[in-house]
């Protein structure tokens, strides 16, 4: 990217961030709730993007990892432990489970991870519903406290929205760093050309596993924010359909693009609020739209944008070449 391009990108980023900080100040409780949910889902989708977009594996368990994170936070904070401890436990738990799930599945064939995670998703839901001593079963865990950060209570919607937003910012920074690290480059190498990556000495299975485990851990991070956001956790949100929703978010936004999950989460969380007039038809139209999008551009909306930009760049380059030839 050119220098001006990078500056422009930074300016746009700063502007969006400022808008995300300032504009919601006037929002009511519900608006803030939806926006916080967008931030939380963006984190979960970003994790899945690491698995799907960068390492090229389908995981159908991201919703289950969000559930594990949410239950960890709910159980620990209602027992008086601080949220940050719950966060650490959730990350460790999801990393470990991700590793255990991915290890056998990735031994076989790429699509087997989809099968194993599908089964795991359903199993996790059964555990959430049935282990009443731990999760209180279908009655759920209520009165989950919101954290106190550096002496500031975040129990009101606006401060807690800022907690979600700053978590999203932190996760984004970490992700930005990760995909530029040798690990991130290895992830991309094995998505683009696994055989070449293998012959270049990259242990493809290990890196795929790392990507999946890290992505799952981000699901756990999203979950630890989800619990204090809703302040009530029961099994119903964490069925297979949450995993599917998250998967579609990543796909719609653009798998493998840094900003894909933000866009996808926005479409999945905010659009239904704006399209209330369509009522029950919304999900049906959404499904049709996703299929059409997949046929036209399997890399999502940002994929279309990327293609348009690339076409313009080639055009500009060939124009420059022609101009250069003319002067010769």
């Amino acid at each position: 990217m050119t220098r001006t391009g990078r500056l422009l990108g930074l300016a746009v980023g700063a502007l969006v961030l400022a808008a995300l900080i300032v504009v919601p100040m006037g929002f009511n409780r519900y608006g803030l709730y939806i926006l916080s949910q967008w931030a939380v889902m963006s984190i979960a989708a970003m994790g899945l993007n690491l698995t799907l977009g960068y390492a090229g594996q389908v995981s159908l368990a991201q919703g289950a990892f969000v559930g594990i994170g949410a239950y960890t936070a709910a159980i620990m904070t209602t027992h008086g432990l601080p949220l940050i401890v719950a966060l650490a436990v959730a990350i460790a738990l999801c990393l470990a489970i991700g590793w255990l799930l991915g290890y056998p599945a990735l031994r076989v064939q790429h699509h087997y991870l989809a099968f194993v995670t599908l089964a795991f998703s359903t199993l996790a839901f059964l555990v959430f519903r049935n282990e009443e001593w731990l999760t209180k079963g279908i009655y759920g865990i209520s009165a989950i406290p919101r954290p106190v950060i550096f002496g500031f209570a975040t129990s009101r919607p606006l401060p807690f929205y800022y907690v979600c937003l700053s978590s999203l910012a932190l996760v984004s920074l970490a992700m930005w760093w990760l995909i530029r690290s040798p690990w991130g480059r290895a992830f991309m190498a094995l998505r683009e050309n696994p055989i070449r990556a293998l012959s270049l000495g990259i242990d493809t299975r290990r890196y795929t596993l790392i990507a999946f485990a890290l992505g799952s851990a981000l699901g756990g991070v999203a979950g630890t924010l989800y619990a204090p956001l809703t302040q009530f956790v029961d099994p119903t949100p964490f069925t297979l359909s949450l995993s599917l929703d998250l998967l579609l978010m990543v796909i719609v936004g653009g798998a493998g693009f840094f900003f894909g999950p933000f866009l996808g989460a926005m479409i999945a969380v905010l659009l239904p609020e704006w399209l209330r007039i369509t009522e029950g038809y919304y999900l049906m139209l959404y499904a049709v739209a996703v299929i059409l999008l997949l046929i036209y551009s399997p890399t999502g909306i940002l994929g279309i944008l990327d293609r348009v930009l690339a076409a313009r760049r080639t055009k500009a380059a060939s124009a420059r070449r022609q101009a250069a030839q003319a002067t010769l």
């Binding site: 389908v58 599945a105 699509h111 049906m284």
Partner: protein
């Protein structure tokens, strides 16, 4: 599961742990035969065009509602079945292949699989919107009542389901492995390039696989809907069961799908009787994970070349 519940009661009426076990096995074979049927369709699509159809369960649910819709419009049952079958051939066979699989296939296996997930969401929501979110009863093709076999009462429905499904499964297996048509289809699936050279109409074979799948799901709908009722979400459980059956048996073999289906059906029914009600749904899933761990090619499957 209704079927298992009914069998269990029948077992208790006649007493004895052994007879109970036998009843469970019979009921398990009946549901298992349906799973096998759906799993065969699943493996057919995978073999001929690398389609992992995550909407296979919804493919069984939709024809039931198409038939119910025709019946609500005043058609007699046989006509409704005919209409359902024709619509299913058009929508789930031809339409699915031409409108979704063909344009998606060039993007690879996983995008296509994700597209079928979106499709399953779309079908569920469409049925919920245009028909009903409630469960509707569905007429059975087998009359109600019990027959006496070896001194034990066996419900006609479960027996009928088993017989019809097994006949269909055996017929399909014979069609695919014994006839020239079946050999051509296998050739088209295993090595399209060579198949084309020796004169197999590969494109037509692939289309036929989709049409066969469309008929399979109609038959499965006819068999299973009277037991589980017609509901927009009923495809989820069935799809998952067929899915597990296909993997357990072997993703790339019809025989595997049959064995896997019967096994899952039996495991399912035994789990309903002997495992806590909360965790009975977990048993097939654990079986799936165990198979992937220890025998990833499935019980009867061939090992596929590892793609890195």
């Amino acid at each position: 599961m209704h079927l298992a519940g009914r069998r269990r009661r029948a077992g208790r009426r006649h007493g004895g742990a052994m007879s109970n076990l036998l009843d469970l096995l019979i009921a398990g074979l009946a549901t298992g035969a349906i799973y096998a049927l759906v799993a065969i369709g699943f493996t057919l699509l995978w073999q001929t065009s690398q389609t992992i159809n995550f909407a296979q369960g919804e493919f069984v649910m939709l024809p039931a509602f198409l038939m119910l819709g025709a019946m609500h419009a005043g058609a007699p049952f046989w006509l409704a079945v005919l209409i359902g079958a024709i619509l299913s051939l058009i929508l789930l066979g031809l339409g699915f292949k031409l409108l979704l699989v063909d344009p998606m296939l060039r993007h690879g296996v996983l995008p296509l699989a994700i597209a079928t997930m979106a499709l399953s969401l779309g079908i569920k929501e469409a049925v919920k919107q245009f028909f009903s979110a409630e469960a509707s009863p569905f007429p059975s093709i087998v009359p109600a009542g019990d027959v006496e076999i070896l001194g034990r009462a066996v419900s006609l429905q479960s027996l009928g389901v088993f017989v019809v499904a097994i006949v269909a499964v055996i017929g399909l297996n014979a069609l695919l492995t014994r006839t020239s048509f079946g050999h051509q289809m296998q050739a088209a699936a295993q090595n399209p390039t060579v198949a084309r050279i020796i004169g197999v109409p590969v494109e037509r074979m692939i289309l036929l696989a989709f049409l066969i799948n469309a008929l399979i799901v109609v038959l499965a709908a006819l068999l299973i809907t009277p037991i589980y009722l017609a509901k927009f979400s009923s495809g989820e459980t069935l799809g998952l069961a067929a899915f597990i059956a296909a993997i357990v048996g072997g993703f790339n073999s019809v025989r595997g799908a049959i064995a896997g289906g019967l096994l899952i059906g039996i495991v399912d029914n035994l789990a309903a009787a002997y495992v806590s009600t909360q965790y009975r749904a977990a048993v097939p899933l654990i079986l799936l994970i165990a198979i992937i761990l220890f025998r990833p090619q499935g019980l009867l499957g061939r090992r596929e070349e590892r793609t890195v």
